[in-house]
């Protein structure tokens, strides 16, 4: 399959982390407003974007996601006052690190959406899906799982040599 064909048929899977107060509600609002957007983003609700640990992002990418979206309340509007700034700081550092692993910045997108911004949130998703489509699949190779080649049971040591 040529690269061109790839971008045409490739449907990325993206994990989205949303905060309970703004961005998840923005997604709810997009729903109640029947705003259409591509079905590629699967959301995980956390209480605050400050809860989002780079480990989650790395895990999602290494478990097969093509991209990760992190969404929180707008700066200055965090339900927990200022925790979205911590999300912002972690995102900046994560991006720098991911670049060294060959992961393009567009694959890990940070966005702000208030609970009123259903349309904006849908637009953000559409934009991200589009960008990740252009990049193609990430397909991070699964971690090797060693099996077999171990003696079935390990005897209690005190029996050995007796």
């Amino acid at each position: 399959m040529s690269a061109l064909d790839n971008t045409n048929t490739f449907e990325p899977v993206i994990i989205g982390f949303t905060c309970n107060w703004c961005s998840y509600r923005a997604a709810d609002l997009a729903g109640t407003s029947r705003i259409k957007y591509p079905p590629n983003v699967r959301l995980i609700r956390v209480m605050c974007s400050g809860r989002i640990d780079p480990t989650f992002v790395l895990k999602a990418l290494s478990d097969g996601a093509d991209g990760v979206m992190i969404a929180g309340c707008h700066p200055g509007e965090c339900h927990y006052l200022e925790q979205n700034y911590k999300a912002l700081r972690r995102h900046r550092l994560l991006q720098k690190t991911l670049a060294q692993f060959g992961i393009e910045p567009a694959r890990v997108r940070l966005t702000w959406a208030s609970a009123a911004e259903g349309a904006l949130f849908a637009q953000e998703i559409a934009t991200m899906v589009d960008e990740v489509k252009q990049l193609g699949p990430l397909n991070w190779p699964a971690r090797p799982v060693p099996v077999g080649s171990v003696p079935a049971e390990i005897p209690v040591l005190s029996e050995v040599g007796a």
């Binding site: 780079p54 900046r92 060959g102 991070w140 190779p141 971690r143 390990i154 040591l157 040599g161």
Partner: protein, 333 residues
Amino acid sequence: MSKPKFAMYWAAACGGCEIAVLNIDEKVLDLDANFEVAFWPAAMDVKYKDVEAMEDASILVTLFNGSIRTDENEHMARLLRRKSRILVAFGSCANEGCIPGLANLSSRESLFERVYQANATSPSTENPNNLRPQASSQVPEGTLTLPPLQAVIRTLDQVVEVDYHVPGCPPESRQIAAVLDALIAVVKGEAELPPKGAVLGAGNSTVCDECARKRDVKQIGKISRIQELPPLATDVCLLEQGLMCAGPATRSGCDSRCPNVGAPCIGCYGAAPGVLDQGARLMTAIASVVDANEPDAIDRVLDGIPDPAGSFYRFSLAHSLLRANRAALAEKP
């Protein structure tokens, strides 16, 4: 009465782990007293074929140090797994790839280029004919072979099942001695084996726990390298003085040797218990306490870490969630 067999092997590693074992001084005599050393290339001459000839599971315990970089490393890992009842990943290389694991940020080709190219940037390279090592080459005497280099470095537990882990680069001699004592106690029937998969010879917290420096609430406005800073206070947290210290995210057990003498922890004991990815923990910790809220200002602080992946994953890259650079992973093994 025959003594249980002991083996130690050195795959892709620097040899420091072997030195560390010898560093336990007279304790090594206890090893000899309680075990028959069946295979230990660094200490005695036994051929691979001798090992192959041994019965499966006839070695009681093998301390395996070094990571899996070549086909030979992999072969020996599998062989020793088969021959050993207890396989211990010994030292940082075997457990998480260690410094050699940083090669996973580069493709095999770029590694060869860097090391063997005539005009390579490496100052120690002198190779006017651009010779490269070959897996096999013909000489008048016959065929010479070299074990092929694999695409990425793997840790021992990514290749075979591992029973116990002893972290450290190298493991502290005091800790090695304690592990040996525990093993001997088990052999003598004075103790039970720890649960499979346990980490031995280390603590349950992080390096800060053993660090004597005073710590305060953190707000980092600038990160510098040690040579860029004025002489450091001897009793204040290094991170608070603007140094990247991996102590907060690194398993305890080393007695916080480096920070206590003024050098920042570089993370050789690996992740704290229960942690999936040491680099991610260090990354999130540092980023959380950056004293800036605007993207540009945040970047200015973070620019003090010129090589983030190398800094956060100095020892644990090969064992991390991502393991390697995408291009390196995409190569044929």
